[in-house]
């Protein structure tokens, strides 16, 4: 509990410190990290809590991003309309994809979620009216109303932080509610849960839809934050990246998404922006090959530390 309070205080104080040294770039960067934390946390709900290895989560993030962007382009600029619409449409997409995919198990489920996400990717790419594969630039961020200016990096950061904390709190409550217990029971032993009489298919679908809806929110925020959206947000490499964040952070751990997003994005940023002298002497343009480093780190984590960073701090190891 003390750690949680300390983390929240740090997150709240961070933009104040950054504004004090007049470094708004790192406030904007932190907003991006928090948005990815929302996306990764939503995937963690399906992946870690529900045990559903969904390899198409970018589809829901992308759907949210496109719904918000298209509404903005059509003149609906209020965040109070855009973001709920993004959540609703992503939830619908998750319901449709989940309804078919959850009929299958294991490897089939992984591949089907992947294939459906790729289908959404091609669908978006073929929407020529909204930029096609070139993407869609927006003139500004969604308007928050209430006298708040979304264009202000510090304000936007606090909005994202508020949404992330709300999501984490909801997840925390959900995991301890009856629904969360049933989800965990199904993950641990689906046949037994079915035999006890839990509605397995319905519970898994509900869990999948909630994850998709939260992913949609992350997408809407992402589009607002960057004022730009392109089909790459739905690409399956993006799904893989979200998965990496969850794994690095900690599967089925409440803070796993935040830790993973912060670790991965910071690592990428450090590799790209801060050249290391001895590494640069060894391999002159190593900064252009960040994927190699990320891949190797991921491989090592999977082979040797499957519980992720959060797993290092918990005493009781979760059953795989």
């Amino acid at each position: 509990m003390k750690t949680v309070a300390a983390v929240i205080v740090l997150l709240v104080a961070y933009p104040l410190a950054m504004s004090a040294v007049d470094n708004l770039f790192y406030v904007s960067f932190a907003s991006r990290v928090l948005i990815y934390a929302i996306a990764a946390t939503s995937l963690n709900l399906a992946l870690g809590y529900g045990g559903m290895i969904s390899f198409g989560h970018a589809a829901f993030v992308g759907t949210g991003a496109y719904v918000a962007s298209i509404l903005f382009a059509e003149g609906v600029t209020s965040a109070w309309l855009e973001w709920p619409a993004a959540i609703a449409v992503s939830a619908l997409a998750a319901a449709a994809i989940g309804a078919v995919s959850l009929r299958t198990r294991g490897v089939y489920f992984i591949m089907i979620t992947l294939a459906f996400a790729q289908m959404m990717f091609y669908l978006v790419t073929s929407m020529k009216a909204y930029g096609g594969d070139e993407g869609l630039s927006l003139p500004g961020r969604a308007e928050l109303g209430l006298g708040l200016d979304a264009g202000n990096e510090v304000t936007f950061y606090y909005v994202v932080l508020g949404l992330l904390l709300a999501l984490l709190y909801a997840l925390h409550r959900l995991a301890r509610a009856r629904f969360g217990r049933v989800v965990t029971a199904i993950r641990e032993n689906e046949v037994r849960a079915e035999a006890i009489g839990f509605p397995v298919y319905r519970t898994k679908l509900a869990c999948f839809v909630i994850a998709g809806a939260a992913g949609g929110l992350a997408g809407a925020l992402l589009a607002s934050h960057g004022k730009y959206v392109n089909p790459n947000v739905l690409h399956w490499i993006q799904s893989g990246t979200l998965m990496i964040m969850v794994i690095i952070g900690g599967v089925g751990h409440l803070w796993g998404g935040l830790i993973g997003a912060a670790a991965l994005l910071t690592l990428e940023h450090l590799i790209a922006e801060y050249p290391v002298d001895w590494l640069a002497r060894l391999a002159p343009n190593y900064q252009q090959h960040a994927g190699l480093g990320v891949g190797l780190v991921l491989l090592l984590i999977v082979l040797f530390a499957p519980q992720g960073i959060a797993g290092l701090f918990t005493r009781r190891a979760r059953a795989p």
Binding site: L47, I53, F55, V100, R103, T104, G106, V107, Y108, I110, M111, I112, L114, A115, F116, Q118, M119, Y122, L123, T125, S126, M127, K128, A129, W236, I237, G240, M243, I244, I247, V251, H289, G291, L292, V294, G295, L296, L298, L299, V302, L303, P306, P320
Partner: protein, 305 residues
């Protein structure tokens, strides 16, 4: 929309489907026998194509270069299996997905380091012209060669799996791994061999498709998803399913792209048709997959009973 055009597009679909089969066959065997999800299968396709580009240039002969690339890729695949993938068989699917996803990132960057983002690979000059198959139908001879090679390899693979001792072991492993183990099958050696064959098929597909598409980093990722769709439709572990699935996907995708926009033009206004046609065509195979799965969650030809 003449019947010549329909015939030509059907041949294109057949050609694409056969190349998909080369990828899907290796993938479905690895899945079926080892219960292992290997996302890096598409990277083997990429590595094979890049090797072919270099070796064709080095030897000056397309056929020799491709054959050498196939041998080299098979060796590379087996090396990968022995050194890394073997450790993943006993792990859960999530670990396999992540480890092989990491492998994609690593191989993409490694190829970029060695070759750069792309490599030139052109078809042999003798095959660059069209041939007249029947009066009025001119068809590129290179594509025709791909069809012939694809059919030959498919037949050889079918004989290998159904008629040889190794094929019998492969089928035994796919339908019940524990039982095959209990009967004293040397599964380790079999896995390595199957992986080598899968890598060789990848390299063949990569080097044959290279001149038509492009040899570039990331080329394996899009076709990998199509191969997934194929084996999900066909049923994991089934060579027959992979063949049927590949041809279905190849033909539906090619025909859909060629004719759906025209078909939509007959019923809708041009503005709607030109927007909706390509969109529906690009998702046609995924809809096909959804329909198949809705009725047969195990695919068309489930290998396990």
């Amino acid at each position: 929309m003449s019947w010549i055009l329909i015939l030509e597009q059907s041949l294109n679909g057949l050609q694409f489907g056969l190349m998909l089969f080369l990828l899907a066959a290796g993938l479905t065997l690895v899945f079926g026998i080892m219960d292992m999800i290997n996302l890096a299968h598409g990277s083997l396709y990429m590595v094979g194509a890049f090797l072919a580009a270099t070796l064709v240039q080095a030897t000056g002969s397309f056929a020799a270069g491709v054959l050498l690339a196939i041998a080299a890729s098979a060796a590379f695949g087996m090396l990968l299996e022995v050194s890394l993938l073997r450790r993943l068989y006993t792990r859960d699917h999530l670990s396999q997905v992540l480890a092989t996803f990491a492998l994609i990132l690593i191989l993409n960057e490694a190829v970029r380091l060695v070759w750069g983002s792309d490599a030139p690979l052109s078809m042999p000059a003798a095959l660059s012209g069209p041939v007249e198959l029947i009066p009025g139908l001119m068809y590129p001879s290179y594509r025709l060669v791909i069809i012939v090679v694809g059919l030959a390899v498919a037949a050889a693979l079918f004989l290998l799996v159904t008629k040889t001792r190794m094929g019998m072991l492969v089928r035994a492993g796919a339908s019940n791994r524990e039982m095959a183990l209990a009967m004293g099958v040397n599964i380790r050696a079999l896995f390595t061999a199957v992986f080598g064959i899968g890598a060789a098929l990848c390299a063949l597909a990569g080097s044959l498709l290279g001149p038509l598409l492009a040899v570039q980093v990331g080329m394996g990722e899009n076709i990998l998803i199509l191969a997934f769709v194929v084996i999900v439709i066909g049923g994991i572990g089934s060579i027959r399913g992979a063949l049927v699935g590949s041809l279905l996907v190849g033909v539906v995708d090619t025909i859909g792209r060629a004719f759906l926009p025209i078909l939509f033009g007959l019923f809708f206004q041009p503005r709607v048709a030109s927007a909706a046609g390509p969109a529906i065509a690009s998702v046609a195979i995924y809809l096909l997959m959804a329909v198949v799965l809705y009725f047969k969650p195990q695919g068309l030809f489930p290998a396990r009973g």
